[in-house]
């Protein structure tokens, strides 16, 4: 590492930011030196993105100061941040699919140049840093790794001094991760500072010189990752012991949901194909599927729920019955329950009341008879769900869009659980949900399992999967790893599987 007698590139002192419902950053200090690769670590909701919004000028802090190369500055807009020399590669790329690389970059730069004029500069930067990028290619034909390179090249064209990478490897293959690390080391070697936001322990230990760990808005530690172990880092991020009251393991019963060599190419040209998925979920167990979005979760869920029925090979069976070609309503009739990723617009109709939303999946539970809607039954059912799951709302007549995320999620989970499904699919059960609601949801899923249902949970939160699942598998680029019992896994091991990391990453 370089020990130069220069002012550090960026120093944050006592940064505090409060939102109406949470204290996102609480007295945060951060220091990034010249040519240093500094990790900013923490679980979702720890305050990383808020801190980055402050550094990039999207938001102002309520308290604290920012020092850039020794002098105190105020960063009031992304343009100002860029002028100082801060470049940011977002997790969700701001790229136009139907335009070429050069056109995209032309639109994103502060200067007004034409794509044609930029093309040679793009090629020059690309070559210099080993980031192969063809200015004429259309973005939609590019892989995720290639798209990220476009974003990086875009940043580099503005000669930044601090490059912020937000969860850069969440959608990369192992090879792409290697390439990225090579690039980042090269940039750091030339004096660029890099702020690397991630929660992937192995990568951080392989790549980063130093790290600031955030937990619940506060700095829980500033360390040198290479001198730490995954376990110690994880403890800093998550706090209490990982294995918090593991649910009582049960003896799983008969296979209720089975996928055999299931492969499918989605109709959406931008989707992920599923390859040879083998999976079985038994009565009385919870199986979890880990993996960051973009690896086929959407497609797997839609294939299981019946929302996407198309040409495929392999089979899906529910309680021994082939359901490949059945629609969603049919699968429900045979005992499938499903809590989707999106609450408003998919799990519930925003403008309709909770009791009207109960009708969405409750037709076969007595709410519809002879084609007539029995509003009274629907209302009673909604009321019961609200009571059992402690949903905070005006009444069952409140519109779904007026509930908070956590309460709506409790309602949807409750609605599905109360239909006593034989197999329950759940996607991102506690995304954007407060801690209390999350706990209740977890408990109810375990209760469902104890009642004999087979539960499949797909989630990006490793913590969650480790809290409630009996077996865990990982979905990467459309392929599913063999599920293993939770007791035989660690967060690090699963993280490795998610990153598809190999030995090479660990040794940099």
């Amino acid at each position: 590492m370089n020990e130069r007698p220069l002012a550090p590139r960026l120093v944050l002192r006592g940064i505090t930011k409060r939102y109406p419902t949470t204290l996102a950053n609480d007295n945060v200090d951060l220091r990034v030196g010249v040519g240093e690769i500094h990790a900013l670590m923490g679980e979702n909701g720890a305050g990383k993105s808020t801190l980055m919004k402050i550094v990039y000028g999207v938001t102002r802090p309520d308290a604290g100061s920012i020092e850039w190369e020794g002098s105190t500055v105020g960063i009031h807009s992304p343009a100002e941040a860029r002028r100082l020399g801060v470049g940011m590669v977002f997790q969700h790329f701001a790229l136009f699919e139907t335009l070429s690389v050069a056109e995209n970059i032309a639109l994103a730069l502060d200067e007004r140049s034409t794509p044609a004029a930029l093309a040679p500069r793009i090629r020059a930067v690309a070559e210099r840093y080993g980031l192969p990028v063809d200015p004429q290619r259309l973005v939609h034909s590019m892989s995720v790794g290639e798209r990220q390179r476009v974003e990086i090249v875009r940043c580099l064209l503005q000669s930044p001094k601090l490059l912020i990478m937000d969860e850069p490897t969440s959608v990369l293959t192992p090879q792409a991760v290697l390439q990225l690390f090579g690039t980042l080391r090269r940039l750091a070697g030339e004096g660029m500072s890099i702020l690397y936001i991630s929660h992937k322990l192995d990568e951080i230990r392989a790549l980063c010189d130093s790290a600031t760990v955030l937990r619940a808005g506060r700095v829980s530690g500033t360390v040198r990752p290479r001198e730490e172990s995954n376990a110690s880092l994880a403890r800093l991020m998550v706090g209490s012991d990982l294995d918090d009251q593991p649910p009582q393991p049960r003896q799983p019963g008969e296979v209720r949901l089975e996928l055999n060599g299931y492969s499918m190419v989605p109709r959406d040209p931008f989707g992920t194909a599923l390859r040879q998925i083998d999976l079985d979920v038994r009565s009385g167990e919870i199986v979890g599927i880990a993996g960051v979005s973009g690896n086929g979760q959407k497609e797997l869920l839609a294939a299981l729920s019946g929302e996407m029925i198309g040409p495929h090979s392999g089979s899906i069976s529910l309680c021994g019955r082939r359901i490949d070609h059945l629609g969603a309503a049919h699968r429900r009739a045979f005992g499938l329950g499903f809590v989707p990723e999106e609450r408003l617009g998919r799990g519930a109709v925003p403008a309709m009341s909770l009791s009207e939303n109960a009708l969405l999946t409750g037709a076969r539970a007595g709410m519809v008879r002879h084609g007539l809607v029995r509003h009274r039954v629907a209302r009673a059912s909604a009321r019961a769900t609200i009571a059992a799951f402690k949903v905070k709302c005006g009444s069952e007549q409140s519109a779904a869009e007026r509930l908070s995320g956590g309460n709506l999620q409790k309602f949807i989970v409750g609605r599905e659980i109360r239909l006593a499904p034989k197999v329950m699919l759940v996607a991102q059960p506690t995304w954007g949900v407060d801690v209390g609601a999350a706990q209740l949801i977890h408990q109810s899923l375990i209760g469902l399992r104890d009642g004999g249902s087979a539960v499949l949970v797909i989630s990006e939160e490793l913590d969650e999967l480790f809290t409630i699942c009996d077996r865990i598998a990982v979905l990467t680029a459309g392929r599913l790893s063999a599920p293993q019992p939770r007791s035989q896994l660690t967060i690090e091991a699963v993280g490795l599987l998610m990153a598809g990391a190999t030995q090479e990453v660990a040794h940099g």
């Binding site: 000028g57 999207v58 938001t59 102002r60 009031h76 807009s77 502060d110 729920s305 019946g306 929302e307 629609g327 969603a328 309503a329 049919h330 699968r331 429900r332 499903f338 989707p340 999106e342 617009g345 998919r346 799990g347 519930a348 109709v349 925003p350 403008a351 309709m352 009207e356 009708l359 969405l360 999946t361 037709a363 519809v368 084609g371 007539l372 809607v373 519109a399 007026r402």
Partner: protein, 367 residues
């Protein structure tokens, strides 16, 4: 890069916590009032005494039993088409071709009336009406098929079919179906007295089609609020992803919406030809199928509102005729008012979901 030359206006639209129920009902009234005010200005601009003109437009037509009858008479096809269209709109199915389905209903019903009325005896009228419904539904089946099978927009298809339907009618009336004693006019023989829709009372022209329409309005309300099929269509229109999640078949909803609106429009068409018109001719509708779109919106896509809106629209037609005779204004003034009404409604509708705030832009950085 600043968003130049657009500068944010000094007022702001603030989203309401919940859609304002009061505004939902008030919006059509506000729109109607605004239309009246605009009408005042238009008449003044045209050099006519505005209050007299407004009176002649909106009040005079209703001064007699005959006038009220005319009101009900015109409101019937408007409401019939409007009810069907509204059902479709709530399901995000945009049937713009009601005029064509109306025409096909007239053709099919009229065809039965021309060629089989004597054989059918007492069953003639019911069969004629059913034929009209079937004709309209069949014409709407084309955009339904093309949308569900071939992903083709029902807007453009149903619209093209309007022109084709009108040409078909012209073709029939110029050739095989022309009245040989009709002096060469493109029209059919007049229908037999026995198969004309019975009138409500003497001295005016409204027929039993009006109460029939009211019954269908009630049926439509029942469908939307009590039947699961109606619920499915509603979900389909409001949140297609939720409909897919629930397993509601989008195909089925599209077919249902188009069949119902096509059949309703077909009924409207056949009721016109075995009603006030009494024969088949090329000119059977002054654009009812299109005006019904406005009726549907002004009626808030609700059966009760649609009936009221149909009455208002009917008054606009009568008013147009009235000022044409009394003030020598072109009959097209009706179309003008109709368009204005719809524009105002769309603008007023904004305030159902948003509130207007006159506030200077707060000078803080964006969060």
């Amino acid at each position: 890069m600043a968003d130049f030359p657009w500068r944010p206006p000094p007022w702001r639209l603030e989203k309401r916590a919940a859609p304002s129920a009061a505004m939902r009902i008030a919006a059509p009234l506000i729109a109607a009032a605004a239309m009246l005010a605009t009408g005042f200005a238009i008449f003044a601009f045209l050099g006519r005494e505005p209050l007299t003109a407004l009176y002649m437009f909106f009040v005079e037509p209703l001064n007699s039993l005959y006038g009220v009858g005319e009101l009900l008479l015109k409101a019937t096809p408007l409401a019939l088409c409007g009810l069907g269209l509204a059902l479709g709109f709530t399901a995000n199915v945009w049937n713009i071709g009601a005029e064509g389905q109306l025409t096909l209903g007239a053709i099919c019903g009229g065809g039965v009336a021309l060629f089989w009325s004597s054989e059918l005896g007492r069953l003639a009228l019911p069969v004629i009406l059913l034929a009209g419904i079937a004709g309209g539904a069949a014409w709407a089946a084309i955009p339904a098929l093309l949308r569900t099978r071939f992903n083709t927009s029902e807007i453009l298809v149903s619209l093209m079919l309007v022109y084709i339907a009108q040409l078909l009618l012209a073709y029939l009336l110029r050739g095989a179906w022309r009245d040989p004693d009709g002096f060469g006019f493109p029209q059919s023989k007049a229908f037999d007295e026995r198969i004309i829709l019975p009138l409500l009372f003497d001295g005016q022209r409204a027929s039993i089609a009006f109460p029939l329409m009211l019954a269908l309005a009630a049926l439509s309300w029942f469908f939307s609020s009590r039947l699961f099929a109606g619920y499915r269509m509603l979900v389909s229109g409001q949140a297609p992803a939720a409909a897919a999640y629930a397993g509601f078949s989008e195909r089925r909803n599209v077919w249902l919406a188009l069949m119902i609106s096509g059949g309703a429009a077909g009924l409207a068409g056949v009721c016109e030809v075995v009603g006030p018109i009494g024969r088949l001719q090329t000119d059977i509708s002054p654009g009812y199928g299109f005006a019904a779109i406005i009726v549907a919106f002004v009626g808030r896509l609700h059966p009760a509102g649609i009936v009221l809106a149909a009455l208002l629209m009917s008054l606009l037609y009568l008013g147009g005729e009235s000022v044409q005779l009394g003030l020598q204004l072109p009959a097209a003034v009706t179309g003008l008012f109709q368009g204005i009404l719809l524009f105002y409604l769309l603008a007023a509708d904004l305030f159902v979901g948003f509130r207007l705030r006159l506030a200077p832009r707060a000078v803080t950085s964006s969060a």
